[in-house]
């Protein structure tokens, strides 16, 4: 049931849609590049995992979603958050551990969430999200909202039992769930070609009774199309799909990783395989958008990120009164 999909014409996306997609991808890239810089300065605490290079996945999928729909993310969650509409300023403040952050500074990079947007949280546990998404999909199904649940997870997470169980459960219950395996080639320092005992993660779909699709993760349009089909099918009661998105991680596993295990693939990818460059090239060549429209977005985004960092740095940290609140709703 595994098929590889290559890019088709931009089709359904109108100008606003294209601009929105580009803005999302650019925001993610700029956010991550900036966090990378700021981390190096030593200002950002904790473990930080960057999504740069993978923007087309979160964006191509989430562009089909609205507030009925939920997503679950991973430790590498900034991109999914931004694509699902979490406020960028609050995200930046959260990463800096400020009271103005998405989680009031209690969560940090690995736990940014916005339930009101159906963003169920980045997740520090590899494979933590897929079971949860079976639940949000179940809720949508029971409530008849037409909503779907999307679980993003990595190649490494595709070997976690929780992920595999969720695939089966989603089929058994015929849930409106989409499983997006983001195969960026590595789980920490371990190659996916070694840890995943199959040619493709998508090859696992058949064993769990759902279609498996492989898509080029540097191509926004390909992801957008494949995700659109799967989400459409799910909304119409057609059950779950496993989508494998293949691409390369631009930065280290976490900030600070020296990446001695890698070859020159990163530099090559950044040069030749960049979803933003590919997008720009395609839409300007086809005439769908003008270069200036994109440039303007780039400037907007740069300003937003600058502002977010400044605001975060200026914001207060949580205080002793915050330490023991919000453990329970009632106690």
């Amino acid at each position: 049931m595994t098929e590889t999909v290559s890019a088709k014409p931009a089709g359904e996306l109108d100008e606003a849609g294209l601009l929105a997609a580009y803005r999302t991808m650019r925001t993610i890239r700029a956010f991550e590049d900036r966090v990378h810089q700021e981390f190096a300065k030593g200002d950002i605490p904790g473990f930080v995992h960057l999504y740069a290079g993978e923007e087309a996945s979160a964006t191509g999928v989430c562009q089909h979603l609205d507030d009925r729909d939920s997503i679950a993310s991973t430790h590498r969650g900034h991109g999914h958050c931004i694509a699902k509409g979490v406020d960028v300023r609050e995200m930046m403040a959260e990463i800096y551990g400020r009271r103005t952050g998405s989680c009031h500074g209690k969560g940090g990079s690995m736990h940014i969430a916005d339930l009101s947007k159906g963003m169920l949280g980045a997740n520090g546990i590899v494979g933590g999200g897929p079971p949860l998404i079976c639940g949000t999909a179940l809720a949508a199904k029971q409530q008849g909202t037409g909503g779907v649940g999307v679980a993003f997870f990595g190649d490494g997470a595709s070997n976690q039992g929780t992920t595999l169980e969720a695939l089966n459960l989603a089929s058994v219950w015929n849930l409106p769930a989409i499983f997006v395996a983001e195969n960026n080639g590595y789980a920490e320092a371990t190659s996916a070609t070694w840890s995943v005992a199959a040619d493709n993660i998508a090859d696992r779909a058949a064993g769990f009774g759902m279609p498996g699709v492989i898509v080029d993760g540097f191509d926004f349009f390909a992801v957008h199309e494949v995700a659109g089909e799967a989400i459409e099918r799910a909304r119409n009661g057609g059950g779950p799909t496993l989508i494998e998105v293949k691409f390369t991680r631009y930065y280290g596993h976490f900030e600070g990783d020296q990446q001695a295990y890698r070859g020159d693939e990163v530099a090559r990818a950044q040069e030749q395989q960049d979803c933003l460059k590919a997008f720009r090239n395609r839409v300007t060549t086809s005439g769908a958008l003008a270069g200036e429209q994109l440039d303007e977005i780039d400037r907007d985004v740069a300003a937003l990120i600058e502002e977010s960092v400044e605001a975060a740095l200026a914001a207060p940290k949580p205080t002793r009164e915050d330490l023991e609140t919000d453990v329970y709703i009632s106690y």
């Binding site: 933590g128 079971p131 969720a166 459960l169």
Partner: protein, 337 residues
């Protein structure tokens, strides 16, 4: 009010009444109906010991069987709870927590705090604990101390049919994740249970018996054991105040401390193994907060630090019994500095 039903029936009635009241309540677990995909009856089991029997037909589409994938379906219950359902998921035996604990303690328990107070996760995880059915080492554990340790979880241990119903109603209505621990050897215990729905608030102990000589705090199935011991001791003039905290988290510390302040003596009865359990938890609380009133060492009656043995000859020695409670009470009442 004088109607007597079993612990099992009390739980079933709470589920029925809450499902009738609130259409967002759904029930899920392995064979909670029973017979999925099979040629014979559906609702063939109603759970392995029959607690969810009859719900499947009564509430079409709201009782879901599951594959044997505890992480996936407990996680699903949690995810669904964040999006408006109030799922009651069954972890058949508490002993199976090891294959799905992450979803419970890292996900459900922490959402609200990690997300800055923005998550609401009203999930109930029903689970069966305890020794007494010769179910051996992997099907007889108490384990509720592990859940009690985790901030963000509420942990309930009903000790009678009355408590079972009222606490289940509260668990379903509660907005926090609740671990609801049913003792497998109590399902056939019968007692008075009001027909109308009622909720027993969490964190409010029940004074099973009043007494001035010794405070006996007991949990779950140990409550009737402690009460039996108290009856026995009363014959020789020793009056125990038997306290059933009903929930271990939150714990009604005030009631325990007040009682010890008047009795000056404490015995804690806990079916769990002895290290880092509820017996140590309550004893430490008292040694810290009511030391000035304590007139004797605390005593703890617990299972030994061993897995649960299979043979009935050993299992009956393993489970704390009323004689041990009597001995402990005698020890603290006869203690002299």
């Amino acid at each position: 009010m004088a109607r007597s039903i079993s612990y099992r029936e009390a739980l079933n009635e709470a589920l029925v009444q809450e499902m009738e009241r609130d259409s967002s309540v759904v029930v899920l677990g392995e064979d909670n109906a029973g017979g999925a995909g099979a040629p014979g009856e559906q609702d063939a089991w109603g759970g392995v010991l029959g607690v969810t029997k009859g719900l499947y037909d009564r509430f079409p589409g709201r009782v879901l069987d599951t594959p044997i994938s505890e992480s996936a379906f407990i996680g699903a219950a949690i995810g669904a709870a964040t999006r408006g359902l109030r799922p009651v998921a069954e972890l058949m035996f508490i002993d199976f927590m090891g294959v799905c604990f992450d979803q419970i303690f890292n996900q459900a328990a922490k959402f609200r705090y990690m997300f800055g107070g923005k998550a609401v996760t009203p999930v109930v995880i029903r689970t069966m604990y305890g020794a007494g059915l010769n179910a051996a080492a992997q099907h007889s554990q108490a384990l509720y101390p592990l859940f009690t340790h985790i901030p963000g979880l509420k942990v309930v241990l009903p000790s009678s049919p009355y408590e079972a119903k009222g606490l289940m109603v509260q668990a379903i209505r509660d907005d926090d994740p609740v671990i609801f621990c049913e003792h497998k050897a109590m399902y056939d215990v019968v007692g008075d249970v009001p027909e109308e729905p009622y909720a027993i608030p969490f964190g409010e102990a029940n004074f099973v018996r009043e007494g001035e000589d010794v405070t006996v705090v007991a949990f779950g199935r140990m409550v009737p054991v402690a009460a039996e011991a108290a009856d026995e001791l009363a014959k020789s003039g020793v009056e125990c105040e038997v306290i059933d905290p009903r929930t271990t988290s939150p714990l009604d510390t005030d009631s325990i401390l007040e009682s010890v302040e008047s009795t000056g003596r404490l015995v804690v009865v806990d079916e769990a193994t002895p290290r880092c359990n509820l017996a140590t938890d309550v004893s430490a609380l008292v040694a810290k907060e009511a030391f000035g009133s304590l007139r004797a060492p605390v005593e703890m009656v617990t299972a030994p630090h061993t897995p649960v043995p299979f043979s009935d000859a050993l299992e009956s020695l393993y489970i704390p019994d009323s004689q041990q409670v009597v001995n402990a009470v005698k020890k603290v009442t006869s203690w002299e500095r």
